[in-house]
Each structure stands twice: as structure tokens, then as C-alpha cells.
């Protein structure tokens, strides 16, 4: 029985990783069929030359960067505030938003925007997407930073106050530096979550703010397309690297 366990573990890791590795592998296939016919970068060329794809990728990056900056700031401040004095309602709501299915938060936001826009004369577009992304990203930031704060010793800030610092200085000079790796990790997490989002984005994006996941989804639905494999590989490797860096930062 004991000898079976390592074999089982290998099988499970294979289950987790092989599908992706196969997809990445076949993105270099010269033919569009699922029979290997030779190494080629033709699909990557096609991907590179696709204008719609380029614009969608740009949109995704802009949305991700902006929403990450805002979400990290809001989430970090929020985590600190809750650490000092918990508000069950706020922390409960934020954790609830993590558990709520995306389709529900998405349509709820859509409904809200539609209702608000009757009075504000605005439209769905990049801004609505960014606002939506900040909302769900900040919950992840909160999670990561709170975890960090829980290992912090409150006596350190008390010592700072005792030595003449104000509350703001104590935060800025004592707690914030200690949080830096956690904040960086949270930011990277927020970035990947934002970059990869489909469900909420598809609902609240306007006509001219297509994102990469939206384009990818449309292509995937239409049928077998090896360019999708190429795009997938790039996304997988890119986000994968970001996550590895984020993990490293969380360890320090």
C-alpha cells in the first residue's frame, strides 16, 4: 500500500499538468490537426499579426494595471483598518464577494450600471470594467494582506507610539515596511485575477472594450483553432512566471 502512494501522486500531478503541457506543446505543431507534424512557430506569427488580438491584449493590460494599483491600495488600507478594529459587516461583505459566483456579481454590477446610466448618461466601457475589477480584486488583496498582518506583533506599533510616533507614522514607518513583500504578492495576485477574468468582464464591458479573455473565449467557442493554443501558451507562461515571483515574495 505504501508503495502505491508515490505512484498515485505522480499520476495526480500528471493529471494536473499534462493537459496544459500538451496544449503548449501542440501550439508549436506545424499542422492545425492534433497529430504532430513538425515544429513550427506559424501560429505564434498568426497570433502576433492579429490586430483584434493586439488591441484586446492592450485593453487587458491597461485594465489589469490600473485596477491592480487601485485594488492594492484600497485593499491594503482596508486590511490594516480591519486589523486595527474589525468591522464584521465590511470584512464579511468582502469575504462574501469572494464566495459569490462570478455570474451573480457580474449581473448585479451590470444591473447597477444600467440603472445608474439612466441618470448619468454614461456607457459601459473600460471604466466600468476597471471599477468592476477593482471590486473583486481588492477582496483578494485583503485576504493576502490580512494573512500577513495576523503574523504581526501589535506591540511593535505600540512601542512606536510609546516612543513618540503618531498613529500615521507608526503605520508608515513600522507596519508598512514589514508588509511590503505581502503587498507585492497581493498586487501580483490581483493582476493575474484581473487579467484572466472573463465572466464579469464580458458582462460589463462595452462594445469597444474587448479584453483578451473575451477574444479567447469567442475563438474557443467557434471551434478548433491552433492560434488559441499559441495564445494560451503565452498567457500560461506569462501568468505562471508572475505567480512564481509572487510566491517568492510572500516567503520573505
Amino acid at each position: 500500500m505504501k508503495r502505491l502512494l508515490p505512484l498515485y501522486v505522480i499520476a495526480i500531478y500528471a493529471f494536473l499538468h499534462v493537459p496544459l503541457l500538451i496544449l503548449c506543446g501542440f501550439s508549436f505543431n506545424s499542422s492545425k490537426f492534433t497529430v504532430w507534424e513538425g515544429f513550427s512557430l506559424v501560429w505564434y506569427e498568426a497570433m502576433w499579426n492579429d490586430g483584434v488580438l493586439a488591441e484586446a491584449t492592450w485593453n487587458s493590460l491597461v485594465i489589469a494595471v490600473v485596477s491592480t494599483v487601485v485594488a492594492t491600495a484600497v485593499g491594503t488600507l482596508g486590511a490594516y483598518g480591519l486589523w486595527k478594529k474589525n468591522s464584521r459587516l465590511l470584512s464579511g461583505s468582502m469575504y462574501l464577494s469572494l464566495v459569490t459566483p462570478e455570474i451573480i456579481t457580474g449581473i448585479a454590477m451590470l444591473a447597477t450600471f444600467q440603472w445608474a446610466f439612466r441618470y448619468l448618461h454614461l456607457q459601459l466601457g473600460m471604466t466600468t470594467v476597471i471599477f468592476a475589477h477593482v471590486t473583486f480584486s481588492m477582496a483578494y488583496v485583503l485576504l493576502v494582506v490580512m494573512a500577513r498582518l495576523r503574523t504581526a506583533d501589535p506591540a511593535l506599533e505600540e512601542a512606536a507610539l510609546d516612543l513618540g510616533a503618531t498613529e500615521w507614522q507608526a503605520f508608515r514607518l513600522v507596519t508598512l515596511p514589514m508588509l511590503k513583500p505581502g503587498i507585492a504578492a497581493a498586487a501580483l495576485l490581483a493582476f493575474t485575477v484581473s487579467f484572466d477574468d472573463y465572466v464579469i468582464t464580458a458582462l460589463v464591458a462595452g462594445v469597444d472594450s474587448e479584453t483578451l479573455p473575451m477574444v479567447l473565449y469567442a475563438m474557443a467557442r467557434r471551434g478548433a483553432n491552433p492560434v488559441v493554443s499559441a495564445i494560451s501558451t503565452v498567457i500560461f507562461v506569462g501568468l505562471g512566471l508572475l505567480i512564481v515571483v509572487s510566491e517568492r515574495l510572500q516567503k520573505t
Partner: protein, 276 residues
């Protein structure tokens, strides 16, 4: 001091209030209204949408959602337990092994779901391999059915089951296993009578972390099930796009939320402090 705390919490409050709580409130309001002629919402106020939830037409979808989420949860638990056990006994390699489990999850959900489309479709890798080897003469319909969706769900949420199980197993007092052996229990008996009962909290957490997102899944049934394997999430999306029945969609959403919150409460009330 009060002002400072307000400053820290204000932005978070603003976003939460305006973009989560208020929208949920709007959904509640819509659920009690009626579908408008051109697809909007309006008077009269009614609970008819909630009544419609019990219509057998939708019953199939609701039942299927629960069944598939249940199957995915069961599958994840069974698959994750031995893995979590192995990792908890791996000494220095624990972090590496855990990272290898989590890493694929954090890349792109869309890409990972597509990877299964690539494998399972009629022109996908599995079929072309089997055809090529002469084992079958026609492609097997592996995609666009309930099974494919469950596999996709298990694939997507397996890491969520591994983490809480690992955390629980790791914290078990190793001395208890020695005591069991000392008292005459063979290894499988120790597993059954000591390890398993003490892993109950981890299993509860794993159930929550897999069942709830599975129940509310949208992408997985959409891509891997085609139109043939509709789950609650797809039904909701349907109401807000093609069916243009926002009130019903809202009621459906709230019903799903209610189930989610009920499950959370039921499974986690004992372990509440740990989660938050």
C-alpha cells in the same frame, strides 16, 4: 484616531457598498418585479419569480447542477486526500509539492478549461490518438456532455481540496499514530479510526471550497458542456441576455446565493474562526 481609521476603511467601504452591496440590493429589488415588454424591469411587484423556481422545467437544471457539483466535490475529495497525505509526510519537499499543485490553478482558468476542450473534442488529441492507433473507427463524443463538465470542475478545483486537507493532516499529532500502533492497530486501522475522524474539519472545508464554486460555475459548463449541460450559472446568464427576463434571473441568482450561504453556515459554523 477615529478619523484615521475612517480614512483607511473609507475606500474599501465605498467600493463594497457601491459595487457589491448596492448591486445585490438592486438584484433583490428586481427579483420582486416583473419583466417589462421590451426586456426591462418594472411594476407590478410580485413573488411570481420565486414561484417559478419550482417549475419542473428548471428543476432539471437545478438538480443537474447540484448533482454535478456534488460529483465534482466527491471526486476532488477522493483524489485530493491521498495527495494531501503524501505531501504532509514529505518533510522538506512540502512547499515545492504544494506549489506544484497550486501553480496551474493560478494561471488562467480559461486556458485550463480550453486545454480540456483540446483533449476531448472530436478532433481533439484523445480521439485522434485512438483513431490513429486503430482502436476506434469514429470519434468518441467526449466533449459537450455532463461528464466532461464534471471532469473540468474537478480539474479546476482540485487544488482547493488539497490545501485544507493538507493543512489539517499536517497539524495532526504524529504521536497519535504511534499510540494507535502501540495499542495494536495496523496502519489501515489507524488511518480509519484515528486519521480520518480527525481530518473531518479539513474535509468540511474542502467540500465548501469545491462545491460552492462548482454550483455557481459558468465557464466550465459553457465551454465543456456546450448548450447541452446547462447549470444554474448558465441559466442565469441566459435570463440576462437572450431570454431578457431580468426579474427571473435575479430570483434565480438570489436562490443560488441563499444556497451558498446556507452551505457555508452549515459546514463552517464549527470551524468559523479558522476561516476568517
Amino acid at each position: 484616531m477615529m478619523r484615521l481609521r475612517a480614512f483607511f476603511l473609507l475606500p474599501a467601504w465605498a467600493f463594497t457598498l457601491l459595487l457589491f452591496l448596492a448591486p445585490m440590493g438592486i438584484i433583490v429589488v428586481y427579483s420582486l418585479q416583473t419583466k417589462g415588454v421590451y426586456g426591462g424591469v418594472g411594476e407590478p411587484w410580485t413573488v411570481e419569480n420565486y414561484v417559478r423556481l419550482f417549475d419542473p422545467l428548471y428543476g432539471v437544471i437545478l438538480l443537474r447542477s447540484f448533482a454535478m457539483a456534488g460529483a465534482a466535490t466527491f471526486g476532488c475529495l477522493v483524489l485530493a486526500f491521498p495527495l494531501a497525505l503524501y505531501i504532509s509526510r514529505s518533510g522538506t519537499r512540502k512547499t515545492l509539492l504544494l506549489n506544484l499543485v497550486m501553480l496551474p490553478f493560478w494561471t488562467s482558468f480559461l486556458v485550463r478549461t480550453y486545454a480540456w476542450m483540446f483533449l476531448l473534442r472530436d478532433t481533439g488529441l484523445i480521439n485522434s490518438m485512438l483513431l490513429g492507433m486503430g482502436l476506434i473507427s469514429e470519434p468518441l463524443p467526449l466533449l459537450y456532455n455532463d461528464g466532461a463538465v464534471v471532469v473540468g470542475l474537478i480539474y479546476g478545483y482540485l487544488p482547493f481540496a488539497v490545501l485544507p486537507l493538507y493543512s489539517n493532516l499536517e497539524r495532526l499529532d504524529k504521536g497519535l499514530l504511534e499510540a494507535a500502533a502501540d495499542l495494536g492497530a495496523k496502519p489501515w486501522e489507524a488511518m480509519l479510526h484515528v486519521v480520518l475522524p480527525l481530518t473531518a474539519p479539513g474535509m468540511r472545508a474542502a467540500c465548501v471550497l469545491v462545491f460552492i464554486p462548482s454550483l455557481g460555475a459558468y465557464l466550465t459548463p459553457d465551454l465543456l458542456g456546450g448548450g447541452k449541460s446547462m447549470m444554474i450559472g448558465n441559466l442565469v446568464q441566459n435570463q440576462f441576455t437572450s431570454a431578457r427576463d431580468w426579474p427571473f434571473g435575479a430570483a434565480l441568482s438570489l436562490a443560488l446565493m441563499a444556497v451558498v450561504m446556507l452551505l457555508l453556515w452549515a459546514l463552517l459554523r464549527r470551524d468559523c474562526e479558522e476561516m476568517l
